[in-house]
Symmetry: C2
Subunit: 305 residues, 2 copies
């Protein structure tokens, strides 16, 4: 399919990421069909100019590309192979862009099952957040056959600022994403621990932010998440439960492969503690709030939070 032609592209899962991706694909001139279990999400798609399907299968039926933008591998499997799943209705040579973070072995298994039906599978976890989904500037860590990449190209061109082509089989993209999530999770946990410790030491934490972001202690996540703590704003941009899930996958792989991961394990425990204290759906900077509650230090807190 050459540039400038119109494709029918389905998006299953219309949360903040999926809806933004739908908007980017619409802006590129394609026909977008979509499905979500939440009526508010499908209403938003209709408002944006997309066509709402009555089920995943209905949304996918006439599409040459289906992006699956759900939370985890279990939901992905349901969308692909569950009741009203998409694979049985997809035409041979059409492609699934699978965006959820999952274990590499699961991605390989899903790709193999799709191949049995002649459906291509691009293992394409993404990063970048809702704003970049809406502006068509996501980063994809993708792997799959050359045929899968070629078939997915119209959607990738519309949604991505950068596509890393990491290998010719499913599972490699998933592996890169898992390594990224290990680091991202540890860095958020460390940022929460360090900024609360700084407060305990009596420091001006806004000044700590200024100094650390210019020093060797900086990380992408420190720079991005500590402002939430400085503002006392724990409305979820990305939730604690994302990291209990993703660091849980990291932990599962480590045990399956007999590979010790002590730093990631500590971070997982801190996120689990935060979720256990009732903040699982709050912003992933919430471990700072938990530590502040436990230790009695004062942190900024929005009045309306």
């Amino acid at each position: 399919m050459s540039a400038g032609t119109t494709s029918t592209i389905a998006i299953i899962g219309l949360g903040s990421m999926g809806l933004g991706m739908a908007q980017s694909v619409l802006r590129a001139g394609h026909v977008v069909r979509g499905y979500d279990v939440t009526p508010a999400a499908t209403a938003a798609l209709a408002t944006a100019g997309g066509v709402v399907g009555s089920s995943p299968a209905d949304a996918a039926m006439s599409a040459s590309i289906v992006a699956v933008v759900v939370v985890n591998s279990a939901q992905t499997e349901t969308v692909l192979f569950g009741p009203a799943g998409i694979v049985p209705v997809m035409q041979s040579g059409s492609v699934i862009i699978s965006c959820a973070t999952m274990a590499p072995a699961v991605a390989r298994a899903l790709a193999a099952r799709c191949a049995e039906s002649g459906v291509l599978y691009l293992d394409a976890p993404m990063s970048g957040g809702a704003a970049r989904a809406g502006s068509g500037e996501l980063t994809f860590m993708a792997s799959g056959t050359p045929e899968a990449f070629a078939a997915a190209r119209p959607a990738l061109d519309a949604m991505a600022g950068k596509v890393y082509e990491l290998g010719d089989e499913a599972g490699i993209g998933a592996s890169f994403k898992i390594v990224n999530q290990l680091l991202a999770g540890v860095h958020i946990a460390a940022a929460c621990e360090a900024i609360t410790f700084a407060r305990k030491l009596g420091l001006d934490i806004a000044k700590v932010y200024e100094v650390i972001t210019a020093s060797a202690g900086n990380s992408w996540m420190f720079e991005n998440r500590v402002p939430h703590i400085l503002e006392g704003d724990y409305a979820p941009k990305s939730a604690v439960n994302i990291f209990t899930k993703d660091l849980g996958i990291v932990s599962d792989i480590g045990r399956a492969e007999t590979f010790p991961l002590p730093i990631a394990a500590s971070a997982l425990q801190l996120f689990l503690m935060t979720a256990a204290a009732g903040m699982g759906r709050d912003d992933d900077a919430s471990p700072a709030r938990l530590i502040a509650q436990i230790t009695g230090i004062d942190l900024p807190m929005r009045k309306d939070a």
Copy 2:
């Protein structure tokens, strides 16, 4: 003292950092006196154009500014107050620039003892490495009285790219540095864990470096230290023992203040394991080598290493 005038500045401790600082101060036109317990270090100072003293006291006697660039608080205390220590010979109104990473309470105590002798004390831990010491582009996280800052200015102007003025009493600079070291140590440990895990997953770790440094999993330390792992080069730019020391200080403060630090604790244990395996003096990316040895994965290794 106005810009352009010549000061006599002593540097006690002429390791890679102290020697570079001496070179920067000499280049600014000041007289440099110095002392180190290692003959090779004092010989290097003489070659650079500095005057070698026979003891800390002898080097400091005629100096208006003395930078103390030793490894820890115990060595700093010995230089200040031990046999042939500098404080008894320093003139009233002269200033010590104390550069070692140490607990804030220790920095406060040293400053108080200096004040009893009329000697000013600038709590000024630094970061930037040997190359930036030699080019006069260090970053100082400094606190102390306005008089201490004013007296230290000629040396700071020669040595620093950036001086953070963080407060008017000793201990604040030390606190900022400790927070930085907590993050830096955790990020190195996480980088070592993640890059070896990536290898276990079968990934091309040079590609992992490329992708992660452009993604949300990045940190200053990941970007700076992983190249050592990719090159298999564990010759020490900064040693494992620096982080067993600095994360040890973090751990001590946490226990003293009843402040839990689970992420930093895990990182400390990983550095301790690495030191216990005989790599304490090697590069601080060595936890990657230890994990590779334990788990049997292959990492690049320089033939001459």
